[in-house]
């Protein structure tokens, strides 16, 4: 199990690094798709199968397709891409990145995190359990989310119109 986890973690980390390093935006988008799929594998290992499938369908299946539409619509050429920040910006960003990652990892390692004993492993994270919580306790956020999606739809159509 640990070997599988390390493999998926390696794939996720490598593709995440490739997202921010590659020149061509299409290559970056495809690398992000690989990252999202490996995060979906993490969700499946964390007893969240419904969230894993939703991640694949919505994130990798709809959001990244939208990204690729826009990248190909804008027809960005290869010379417009790449890491073009000045060297001191690059090194400073990597330094702050290492500091952030280091402090977050120290915070995780020094705290007491332990797995809970889940009574029914096959029910936890199933659509039934999510539905029990989503449509009773979290009903108001659910309705507000539908309102949010309508607003985003109207806003996106208005912003991308050719003439006002």
């Amino acid at each position: 199990m640990i070997v599988i986890w390390l493999l998926i973690a390696f794939v996720a980390l490598t593709s995440a690094l490739l997202v921010i390093v590659l020149d061509n935006p299409v290559h970056s988008a495809l690398s992000l798709v690989v990252t999202l799929l490996s995060v979906a594998c993490f969700y499946a290992m964390l007893l969240a199968p419904f969230v894993a499938i939703v991640q694949v369908v919505i994130y990798a299946g709809a959001i990244m397709v939208l990204f690729l539409f826009v990248i190909m619509l804008l027809n960005l050429h290869r010379e417009e891409g790449g890491v073009r920040a000045k060297p001191w910006v690059r090194y400073l960003a990597i330094l702050f990145g290492l500091l952030t990652a280091g402090s977050l990892c120290i915070a995780v390692v020094n705290s007491t995190v332990h797995d809970a004993k889940i009574a029914n492993v096959y029910q936890f994270g199933s659509p039934q359990q999510i539905g029990f919580s989503l449509f009773r306790v979290y009903l108001l956020p659910f309705e507000i989310t539908s309102l949010l999606l309508t607003v985003a739809l109207v806003g996106a159509i208005l912003l991308a119109r050719r003439k006002f």
């Binding site: 640990i2 997202v19 999202l36 007893l47 990204f67 995190v113 797995d115 912003l159």
Partner: protein
């Protein structure tokens, strides 16, 4: 035991992915790559939520991931529309060229 991997490993993974996204926002100048790095950060936060849902044995973390994904989808739609409108006016996606409001 079903799972030999400790929950802290997922949290460390989430921290590392968040940092990679953060460095991507700081380094790149293409607006679309910056946007993709922000999506990477959102995914790292979602991974943290699901890890804590597993750790505490409560389903609420996964519910929050559900809402976070829908918010991310709405944000991507509006953000890409903004990028398209910007590109139509300035013919560039370089964020260093969008400097009309600078002093």
């Amino acid at each position: 035991m079903l799972n030999y991997v400790p929950v802290g490993a997922y949290l460390v993974m989430s921290a590392v992915l968040f940092t990679v996204g953060m460095v991507g926002v700081l380094i790149r100048r293409n607006a679309l790559i910056i946007f993709m790095s922000v999506e990477l950060m959102l995914n790292a936060a979602n991974l943290s939520f699901v890890a804590f849902a597993r750790m505490l044995g409560q389903i609420d973390g996964q519910i929050f991931v559900f809402f976070g994904m829908s918010v991310a989808a709405a944000e991507v739609a509006v953000g890409l529309a903004i990028v398209i409108a910007l590109f139509r006016n300035k013919q560039t996606t370089d964020v260093a060229d969008i400097n009309i409001l600078k002093w």
